[in-house]
Each structure stands twice: as C-alpha cells, then as structure tokens.
C-alpha cells in the first residue's frame, strides 16, 4: 500500500529510518523543515517558475502529467512542490505534524498573498477612489487591478461585471435583496436544491417571505446527487431564478450548470451559481456556463478572509437597485434622495477591504502561475485516491455519488462511521493524530436531514495536500475507529 512508497525527491532529508519506517518518517522531513525557512534558497520559488505557464486558466498545461506511477518512481507531486509556499502547513498540533484536511471550510495562504498584505499595509495603505495623493492612487490602482484579475480569472466580459463583497454569502444576499425584491412577486417560483449551502437558501427564504414567492426544492437521487431530471421538470414559466451550486461542499458532486442555465433561460428565468467550491479548484468560465450571477469567496481560494465577489452580467447589474447605501455607491446626495453610481460601485458601499482585495488578486496570480488545469488534474487524482482509500475502510459510509470513469468527484468526502458519532471521530483524529477534519452539518442541514443523519465528518483536500497525507488520515481513522469499537 502507500506505506512503502518512496519519499518524493524534493525532500533532501533521507535517512535510514525513511526506509525502515516509511510511514512515520515520511513526516520527519517536513518536521525538520520547520527549522529552515521554506523559502530559503528559492526552494519555494523554484517549483513555481519551473511550471510557469500562461495565466489563462483555460490553456492546457504543458507541465508533465502526474500519474501515480510517476509518483512511485519518486518524482514530486504538485502537492509536494507547492507545500513550501504555505507556511502554516509546517507545524505540529498536539505533538503531531499537522495534516490539514478542512479546505472546504477555508484554504491556506501562500507567502505571495501574505507578502502582498503586509506590503499593502506597510507601504501604500490608503483609502481608495477618493484621494488624489500618491498613496491613494497607488491603492486605487492595485484595488482595481484586483478587479481586472478576478474578471479574467472567471472570464467575465469586462471588469465592471465583478462586484467585491465581504464573502459569497453577502454576494448572494446582494442578489436576493437587490435583484430579487425588485423582480420577484407573489406566486413566482425560486428553484433550489436540498444540497444547497445555508447561505444560498436563507436569503431566498427572506425574499419568499417578503414577496409571497414559493421555494421549490430539487431532491436527491438514490446516488445521493441532486436530481437533474426533476430540476428540469420543475422549471416552468413561473420560475424566476434557479439557485444551484457548481460543486457540492458535502456530496463532492458537480452539477451540469451550463445545461441548467440553458433550461432556465428558455423560460426567461435567471441562474445564480454558487461557485465557492469550484472556482478554487478548476477553471470556471462564466461565458461557457452562461451564468447570470456567480458568487465565490476569496478565503476558499488561497486569498484572505473578508472579501468575496459577485459576477453579474452588466445588463442585469445596471438595472439593479442598490443593496447597501452609503459612501462610494452614490453619484450625488441631496436631503431627500440621492442618485447612485454605476455598477460595480453602486454595490460597493463604504470603504472596502482594500488590502484583502489586493491579496485576493495576489492569490489569483499565484493560482494562475501554478495553472488551474494543473491544479484540477492533480486534485482529480487526489479525489480518487481519497475516495478509494476511504471506501476501503470498514464501516465507513461516504455520501454523494460514486465516481465513474467519466464523472469524477471533488477532492472531498463527507462520511460517517457506523455507531460512532462524527464528533468523536474528529476529536480523536485531532487530539491523537494531528489530523484536521470537520464534523457537523457543514451548513447543509437540509441535506443531512434528507440523508437521514444529524451530522457527518468531512475531509476536504486542496492542491497542497498529498497522497501521503491521505494515508496518514486513513491510518489515523482506522486507529480511531478501533479505539471506539473495542470500547463499544
């Protein structure tokens, strides 16, 4: 199994113990790297420049493919190559090397992003759009440059179609309050799936309550994936908007958003895509999807917390009333009324999270340098590996569809172990093994209720995780299960 695999050759810390106790000592090279700066000697910079490809996310990467056979012969995986860029990964928790598998909750940040944040605050922090002095125009330029980067990242037709918000949740609320309240009336229908994140459901509940519209939910198939046929059947000329996730944060499944958009548009309905779990992991093209609205959060894509964005077709945004009122989003202000700015400013009231937005731009630069296609290919492998190893553990049930040769899963698994509460599993994995996973309902109570459970455990990977870490997780899980089983 994975125990006897050679250590990837980026590590120069081979020792006899690596051969004798491969699994234990595979952790040691990283432990020792704590004492040396991971960026020293350009070890961090080197892997990136070696694979610098075009920044366009849709270009096929020319870098070598990472088949598992290549890994076994010792060539480093993408995870091994990028790990030195992420300082937070190189630490011990509870006396064990940290294995961070909670990326669907939030991702870690590379030095490039951290550097851009401190550079902003140290050298050019200044309020944007208002001042005319040097610092302020530098900050404004960087802020607007970030907007351009995001627009290019998702292939928006122009930067004005990107509105910066606090996070994806705020972006959905923006659409609900601004577009929803002025376009939806009593009797209209809003289509959601039971697998949606609470942030995609609750704002539409507000809209339904205020307008008298009706929420319709798409149920799961026996494969535990939203029923696309049922969704198609639910779309009618009463439908005003369809709200769906691109990739499910619990089921790991991908929805055919382009097809759904097609059906929605055929009846004059809009589509809002929750791309929180897709934008960080694959190239997302809003033109291909023909999305009307698309939302994502910076903190899940290696950017700082405190910023997210809404993509909206400029024709839609131009017709929408403001969401939050205040400075920046106005044109002229009088006693009784004001006139408003054009989008995107219309929807960006007050001083934004300037540094953080610039940090998001740096994250996008970093991701683009690695290459979204390369990230996606690697994560497909990780996803299969995780699924296969987890499935092989007795008494484990994984939720969501099984991957097929044509349809793959995201690199995350929500699962339960027979007779053991997921919180117990997660607690011991953390306390006794340093493995960080999540337990709870993952902001998807509807989904859990449909699956007949109150909570589940979830391990979610990102491109800086490795198969070795999956091995550590699986062994830790087996150990934890046997601990509880023998007690029970």
């Amino acid at each position: 199994m994975g125990f006897v695999r050679n250590i990837p050759s980026t590590s120069t810390h081979h020792s006899l113990s690596d051969l004798v106790f491969p699994l234990v000592s595979q952790r040691l090279p990283h432990r020792r790297s704590l004492n040396t700066s991971p960026r020293a000697g350009g070890e961090g910079a080197q892997p990136l420049s070696a694979f610098a490809s075009s920044t366009s996310s849709s270009t096929a990467s020319s870098s070598p493919s990472l088949s598992s056979s290549q890994e076994r012969t010792g060539s480093p995986s993408l995870g091994d190559l990028v790990r030195p860029d992420f300082p937070i990964l190189h630490q011990d928790v509870n006396d064990f090397k940290l294995v961070y598998l909670d990326n669907a909750a939030t991702s870690q940040k590379p030095f490039a992003v951290l550097k851009s944040l401190s550079e902003y605050y140290e050298t050019y922090n200044s309020n944007v759009h208002r001042g005319i002095h040097y610092l302020s125009s530098k900050a404004t330029d960087a802020y607007e440059q970030a907007r351009v980067k995001v627009a290019a990242f998702v292939n928006a037709s122009e930067p004005r179609e990107i509105v910066f918000t606090r996070n994806a949740t705020e972006a959905i609320n923006l659409v609900a309050y601004s577009w929803g309240l002025s376009n939806i009336k009593s009797g209209d229908e809003i289509i959601l799936s039971v697998a949606e994140h609470h942030s995609a459901i609750v704002p539409w509940q507000f809209v339904a309550q205020k307008t008298g519209a009706v929420l319709k939910f798409v149920e799961l198939t026996t494969e535990e994936v939203p029923d696309i046929k049922q969704l198609k059947g639910l779309i009618s000329n009463k439908t005003k908007i369809v709200v769906v996730h691109h990739v499910s944060n619990a089921l790991g499944s991908l929805l055919p958003v382009d097809e759904i958009a097609h059906w929605a548009h055929a009846v004059g309905a809009k589509i809002l895509v929750d791309a929180c779990q897709s934008v960080p992991h694959m190239a997302v093209d809003v033109q291909e999807l023909d999305a009307d609205f698309l939302v994502a959060s910076s903190h899940k894509m290696c950017g700082p917390t405190g910023v997210g964005f809404l993509y909206g077709k400029i024709s839609l945004l131009s017709a929408m009333p403001p969401f939050l009122g205040g400075g920046e989003m106005i044109a002229d202000v009088f006693e009784d009324y004001s006139t408003y700015a054009e989008p995107p400013s219309r929807f960006e009231a007050g001083t934004p999270a300037i540094g953080e937005t610039i940090g998001l731009g740096a994250a996008i630069d970093y991701l683009s340098t690695v290459g979204m296609q390369r990230i996606h290919d690697y994560e497909k492998e990780l996803a299969s590996y995780l699924y296969d190893r987890l499935k092989a553990v007795p008494k484990v049930h994984i939720y969501g569809p099984a991957p097929t040769s044509t349809v793959h899963r995201a690199p995350l698994c929500s699962f339960n172990v027979e007779n053991i509460h997921p919180t117990d599993i997660a607690t011991l994995l953390d306390e006794q093994h340093g493995v960080a996973i999540r337990s709870g309902h993952h902001c998807a109570q509807l989904l859990h209720r449909r699956l007949g459970i109150s909570s589940s455990a979830r391990a979610s990977l990102h491109f800086y995780n490795t198969k070795e870490e999956v091995d550590v997780f699986i062994e830790a899980l087996k150990d934890t299960i046997s601990f509880f089983s023998s007690y029970l």
């Binding site: 509870n94 509460h421 919180t423 006794q432 909570s455 601990f483 509880f484 007690y487």
Partner: protein, 385 residues
C-alpha cells in the same frame, strides 16, 4: 431512575481502566515506543510537580501553563466526587488512556428517559446532542442529583464525569465549581466561552438547574424555572450568583451526615475516608485502612505474581498530603510510584499492563491506596535479557 446507577462500583471503575482497545495499527505503537522508552528510566524519580512523567515530547510551555492552571484551582471547594475523579485522571498519564477513562464513564451512564430529551434539558452549543436533568436527591433534599445523555461517546463521557462529580453535592457547592477544574484532568478542553463550547455550557446548565432546585427548596423543577432565572444574574454568569446565597452550617452538616449514603463512590477509599472539606474546620478523623506495611504487601504480591526482574516502589504520599482527597488520612500510604520490569508484560499494551497490576492490588485499592503511578516494562524494553 435507580440510585444504583449513580454509584459505579469501585471495582468496576478500575476495571474500566482495562476495558480498552488494543491499538491495532503499528503506526501508532511505533511512535509511542520510540518516544516513551528512553527518558523515563532517568526522570521518574524526580517526580515533577505536574505529575505526568509519562507525557512524551510535549513542549515545555503548555506544561507550565497547565501547571499554573492546576495550581490556580482550589481543590477544597470542589465536591468530593469531583476531587476523586480528578485524582483518578491524574494517576493516568497516557492521553489515550484518559480518553478510555472518559469513555468508560460514559458507558456507565444509564440512558436518559426519552421524556427528558426536550429543549428544556438540551445543552446549547454541542455539535452532538446533549441533555441534562437535575433533580433533588430523594434521600437528602439539600443535595442535587443529575442525569445526562448524549449521542457522542466523548461528550457522554464528559457529561458522565460531571454527573458523577456533581451529584450528591448541595447546589451552592455545585454553583461554586470553577470550570477550570477540567484542566486538572489533563484533557484538552477549551474554556473559551462561545456558543460552541459544549463542556462549558453543560457545566453552566447543570449549575443553573441546581440553583433552580435550590430556590424551590426541592420542589418540582419544571414549575419553578422563573425563580431560577431571577437568581441567575442578568449577565448569565452563574458563578457570580453564589455570593448571594447563604450557605448555612446546618445545610452542610446535613449533607455531611448523609454523605456516606449518597455520594457516588468512585474508588472504594471514599467509603472509608469521609471528609467534608467544604467545611474546612470540620475535619473528622477518618478510618483509612492505612495500617502500615502497605508497601511490603504490594511488593510481596507483585513479586509472587509477576516475578519481576526489577521492582521499585516509592511512597510519595507526602507529596499529596495537602490535597483534598487525602486530608484526614493518617500515615500516608496513599500514593505510590511503581516501576516494575517483568516478562509478564510481554505482548501487552500499556493499558493492559496497568490493568494487570491493578488487578493484583485490588485489596490495597479498597483499603486506602489512592493512586498508583505505574511504569511497566518488559525485560527487552529495558535492555535486559
């Protein structure tokens, strides 16, 4: 609700230390062996104050913090039951064994009657479901008893620990318990107040319910929640209420007198050494059973049964003379360090070895042996043939 359920038998508790998993994965035992085997032979005689000689490779700082936290809790204000639990946890130093201990407690907790699984009894802030119920002790109106349940094994263990530690104490004593006591157990438990802190919320709910009962003088809790809320101060802090509640001598002595019947006995020594340390100047002479010669008896027993190649027994009772569970016992003979090397330990996990030793010393445990810290090695582990 049978009262027997609230009194786990001492033997069963010790047995609880044994009913543990054999770690199957060589992955785990490699690490443990490689870390634990060497430093102990040289360190344990110095018996660090933090009482955790077997704790491997933890960085110094948390240990110092823990020491400070431990020292900050005045053991004297904790109910007897809780002190005993703390002591038991401290005599088990391997973190995994502590979890096993916790699971054992949870396993001893009887299921809660479904009619009490309501929102009124639900503890907020747990990812798992937890319910807690308080009711007056049928035999002693001044004392409060608890029941609890949870669908998560570890949470149930924590709940059981609280149930066992708090049941039988009077409400004011319960309300005075500082949450920091949990640090003494050596479990990693955050005390950050947040809506997600299950342990903290469990303790606070139990304290609140105890006070509600106290306010009614033992009436039906369900009808008197209003007065309970009046007592609880507006900032929700239960602890700050206590200063306003008179703690009468009569109440205490009433509890004193009844203690022997209602306090959950966690180790048998409690049945023997009954000291109510809530009233500090009321130290009753306690029959301890420490009749001298315990060390010799222990040695003799272990020699006979385990044929050890090395046996070292150190009476460190003097180090514990000040703390609550021991005060009132005479002549020490309550706490020992044991180091024993025997072929009998071959093929046995750490916990199985400890269980073997405890089994052999049952009689001592029942007559005043309070805690035994064991280093149990096989000859090959210490480099002997």
């Amino acid at each position: 609700m049978s009262s027997a359920a609230a009194r786990p038998f001492p033997g069963e508790l010790i047995r609880g230390l044994r009913s543990v998993a054999e770690p199957r994965s060589s992955f785990v035992s490699f690490r443990r062996l490689s870390v634990v085997s060497f430093p102990l032979a040289f360190q344990w005689f110095s018996w660090p104050k933090s009482r955790s000689p077997l704790r491997p490779v933890r960085s110094q700082q948390p240990q110092q913090q823990q020491q400070q936290q431990e020292e900050a809790v005045d053991l004297a204000i904790l109910p007897q039951g809780l002190r005993e639990i703390i002591s038991l946890f401290q005599s088990v130093s391997d973190p995994k064994a502590k979890y096993q201990q916790l699971l054992h407690y949870g396993g001893r907790l009887p299921p809660l009657d479904p009619r009490y699984k309501t929102d009124e009894h639900r503890v907020r802030g747990c990812v798992s479901q937890v319910w807690v119920r308080a009711f007056p002790d049928p035999g002693d109106p001044a004392a409060v008893r608890f029941e609890a349940d949870s669908d998560s094994a570890l949470t149930k263990g924590l709940a059981a620990l609280l149930v066992l530690g708090l049941s039988g104490a009077p409400a004011p004593a319960i309300a005075r318990i500082p949450p920091e006591f949990v640090h003494l157990l050596g479990l990693r438990q955050s005390l950050t107040p947040s809506r997600n802190n299950g342990f903290l919320n469990m303790l606070k709910l139990m304290q609140l319910k105890a006070l509600q009962l106290y306010a009614q003088g033992g009436g039906d809790p369900a009808t008197n929640s209003a007065s309970g809320e009046e007592i609880a101060s507006s900032d929700g802090s239960v602890g700050s209420v206590i200063t306003e509640v008179p703690v009468g001598r009569e109440a205490n002595s009433g509890v004193n007198g009844n203690r022997v019947d209602h306090r959950p006995a966690l180790t048998s020594i409690q049945e023997v050494s009954e000291v109510n340390l809530d009233a500090v100047d009321d130290i009753s002479p306690a029959p301890t059973g420490g009749s001298g010669g315990r060390a010799a008896r222990i040695r003799e027993r272990l020699q006979r049964e385990l044929l050890p190649l090395e046996l070292e027994l150190e009476d460190i009772s003097y180090q514990h003379a000040g703390h609550a569970g021991v005060r009132g016992s005479s002549d020490g003979e309550t706490h020992y360090n044991l180091r024993i090397v025997s072929k009998e330990f071959e093929g046995k996990t750490l916990v199985k070895r400890h269980r073997l030793v405890y089994d052999l010393l049952q009689e001592e445990l029942q007559t005043g042996l309070h805690a035994l810290s064991i280093v149990a090695k096989t000859p090959s582990e210490v480099g002997m043939k």
